[in-house]
């Protein structure tokens, strides 16, 4: 993107978007206090909360109208992800939305039996394999750790030149992990498989789904970091040392200011990237990985700072800050090493110079 190009830079939300954000903010604040997050550990899935969320239309809003959805834009879904992230909601919103949007696009010609309706209602959960099948570490074969895989009945994957839907009657066993998210190993060569698309269109659908997963995750991480910052700020306002609130000390307030700088920048970056992916995908090439890598970095730094701000207390599992700290990495690594996104940014920029 030529930064001297004359473009609007309007990051504001429309009144409809504000209504979406406020509704989900209220929902998660009411329904998902930290006790509920803890109660869902170690699996990281609360089926009742997922049903409530689906009843609000969260599973269907991003699907096209022909697939029973509301045709919401990616940036609108990112607002929901941000609120879910702020509450650390134990629901597979990001995975399900990214995968079911790809399924709906792929299935425009051939609809897999009942899947679209079940995806729209949230009855059957979908997930996305984050690497093409068979390209992982040596010795893993067709097995892959799939985010949301421990609660999913279907996984979308790129296998060779085909986009496939791999189905299971029951999700595979969960694997315990740092972020308490429902991770599971899926064998993408096993089970019922449906070919949804082939060739360049399969690859394009898969790339798009991955990009959407990254931006939705980046939005969740941004919400997560902002809420962790809020916890630390409240602590710093009330905790005293040597007769003054610790938040008046610049050794405390400056690191918190740096987190605020990170959060506000990450939010604008992901919004611009999300808008661009929807409207001008070619321009989004360096923007999407940049937004993801930045949000991931800000989350690690921000939750580290937030936990440390409470000293030893922030290091205990009773502190909510610890829940945020563990999920910052627990979510940002699910799609692979963020350094690959950093490299992708430079690769996209260098394309104009080669």
């Amino acid at each position: 993107m030529d930064e001297f190009e004359l473009r609007y830079a309007d990051y504001s939300l429309s009144s409809d978007q504000e209504a979406v954000r406020d509704a989900f903010n209220e929902f998660f604040r009411n329904e998902c206090p930290s006790e509920r997050v803890r109660a869902a550990e170690p699996l990281g899935h609360d089926e009742k909360l997922w049903r409530q969320l689906a009843d609000m239309g969260a599973a269907s809003m991003g699907l096209p109208e022909r697939a029973g959805g509301d045709g919401a834009a990616l940036v609108d879904l990112m607002l929901v992800a941000e609120e879910a992230g702020a509450a650390l909601a134990p629901v597979p919103f990001v995975e399900h939305v990214a995968a079911s949007r790809a399924l709906a696009d792929a299935a425009a010609g051939r609809a897999p039996d009942g899947w679209l309706a079940d995806a729209a209602s949230g009855r059957r959960i979908l997930a996305l394999a984050m690497e093409p099948a068979g390209t992982g570490l040596a010795g893993t074969g067709a097995r892959q750790l799939v985010p949301g895989g421990a609660v999913a009945r279907g996984v979308l994957a790129l296998d060779g030149d085909a986009l496939v839907l791999v189905e299971a009657d029951e999700p595979p066993s969960p694997v315990a992990n740092q972020g308490s998210t429902p991770l599971a190993w899926w064998n993408l060569a096993d089970g019922r498989r449906q070919r949804l698309a082939e060739g360049p269109s399969a690859e394009a659908l898969y790339r798009r789904a991955r990009a959407e997963w990254k931006l939705l995750t980046a939005a969740a991480l941004t919400g997560l970091t902002e809420r962790a910052l809020g916890i630390a700020v409240e602590f710093a306002k009330t905790r005293e040392t040597m007769g003054v609130p610790i938040g008046s000390l610049q050794g405390v307030s400056f690191p918190l200011a740096d987190v605020a700088i990170g959060v506000s920048g990450a939010r604008n970056m992901i919004r611009r990237a999300g808008w661009m992916l929807e409207h001008e995908p070619a321009e989004a090439r360096p923007l999407v990985p940049a937004a993801f890598a930045y949000a991931a970095r800000v989350a690690t730094h921000g939750t580290t700072t937030a936990a440390h701000m409470q000293g030893g207390l922030g290091f205990t599992i009773e502190a909510d800050a610890s829940l945020y700290f563990l999920r910052a990495k627990g979510w940002s690594l699910l799609g692979g090493d963020p350094a690959e996104d950093v490299i992708a940014v430079a690769d996209a920029l260098a394309a104009g110079y080669r």
Partner: protein
């Protein structure tokens, strides 16, 4: 949310061509070379040519010496002139002072000064910082004492950039040392031709020339006072706050970015552009190019990401982020290019590296301009996060004694 290209109508396209022609005619290689040599942030011929176009105060109507430009044209003008490398420091300080003159100068002074500012014959610099005061502007010790219809000014100001090319200094003085720190201040528009004003040049390793200005028994008429006596803090903050709120949330059409540090990103853009050219066109002895090396891509990617963050981080947060991105990014690009990055712009072998070498030096000043990044972190802590203000002995009262 809207990030689409601004579609220019025929008249705006014509305006674009007009600005391009202006830049080609006036911002010549000679002008750029002179700026590199002097670092003065000003070129009189270019400034007067801008004035003739009405582009010093471009949004003003023609009868006030402006060009009646709409916000889109103003933005186009700003983008193209900045991209050309046109020196803009004195233009920027002059525009900042205009707002205070419009609002606070007595009508006779405003009528005298404003048309000359628009024409380019009057320029203004900022007399804020004192040699021992740093960013704590409200601790000003420069004294102004009333004597009948006149004021007598004594003291010194540092970093009065552009003073050697300006006719007026927007000066903050202490008029009542007995009052609380922020309340005993008064602003003046001091004619720099007055007896007792001495301007001494200072050079920075960023290549800029700035000044220390001594005021020794400088007598000026009361007509040069801006705003009420002891009301200087309001007069000084007004234009600043306006500047800080400009184009934030609520403005219907926001073009460009909302980062207060957006202009600090420009040298990093040029440096990154040089680095990308270098990694793609340089061949190592083994036949590979740096761009084929993933560690090189990773480092470039981090710089590019922070650069983007510097552009899009809003308001005062963006001021800190943009400066940090430039400081760290330029240093990283220096390392990436290696010893050749150290070569000065004109030297052989420095074709790609000049912009990086410059950015690395220039970057350091951006962490201080308009208040250090620490001042801004404190503002963010207090006003964005709502953290309690630090209780230092001198934050509200003057703690040092002076004449």
């Amino acid at each position: 949310m809207d990030f689409s290209r601004v579609r220019l109508d025929t008249e705006q396209q014509e305006f674009l061509a007009e600005v391009r022609a202006f830049v080609a005619e006036h911002v010549t290689g000679e002008v750029l070379e002179e700026e590199r040599r002097t670092g003065s942030g000003f070129n009189e011929r270019v400034h007067l040519a801008l004035g003739e176009k009405g582009w010093i105060m471009p949004a003003w109507p023609a009868d006030r010496g402006g060009a009646g430009l709409d916000p889109v044209r103003v933005h186009l003008l700003d983008l193209l002139t900045r991209r050309s490398g046109m020196p803009t420091v004195t233009l920027g300080t002059t525009r900042l002072v205009v707002k205070a003159v419009e609002r606070y100068a007595e009508p006779g002074l405003a009528a005298d000064v404003l048309p000359r500012i628009a024409a380019g014959t009057a320029r203004c610099c900022l007399g804020y910082t004192e040699p021992d005061g740093g960013s704590d502007i409200a601790a000003a010790k420069t004294r102004a004492v009333r004597d009948g219809d006149e004021w007598v000014i004594n003291g010194s100001k540092i970093f009065t950039t552009g003073a050697q090319n300006c006719q007026y200094a927007f000066l903050i003085t202490r008029t009542d040392p007995e009052l609380a720190k922020h309340r005993g201040l008064t602003m003046f528009l001091v004619p720099l031709g007055s007896d007792g004003v001495e301007i001494q040049g200072i050079r920075t390793f960023g290549g800029e020339r700035t000044n220390i200005v001594y005021y020794s028994d400088v007598r000026i008429s009361d007509r040069y006072r801006l705003g009420g006596m002891n009301d200087g803090w309001t007069v000084l903050r007004g234009p600043l706050d306006e500047e800080h709120n400009f184009g934030q949330k609520g403005s219907a059409v926001q073009i460009g970015g909302t980062s207060l540090g957006a202009t600090y990103v420009y040298p990093l853009e040029r440096a990154l552009d040089s680095a990308l050219t270098w990694v793609c066109t340089t061949t190592r002895r083994d036949g590979s190019r740096p761009v084929d090396d993933r560690s090189v891509l990773y480092r470039l990617g981090q710089v590019a990401i922070d650069m983007q963050a510097g552009q899009v981080t809003p308001g005062p947060m963006g001021r800190v982020k943009a400066s940090d991105a430039l400081v760290h990014g330029a240093a990283e690009l220096m390392d990436l290019v290696g010893p050749a990055a150290l070569l000065s712009e004109s030297g052989p072998g420095a074709e790609a590296a000049g912009a990086i070498e410059f950015a690395h030096r220039f970057a350091q000043g951006t962490a201080t301009y308009g208040g250090t990044v620490e001042i801004f972190r404190q503002m963010i802590a207090q006003h964005v996060l709502g953290l309690p203000r630090p209780a230092y002995p001198g934050s509200k009262v003057l703690v040092s004694n002076f004449r």
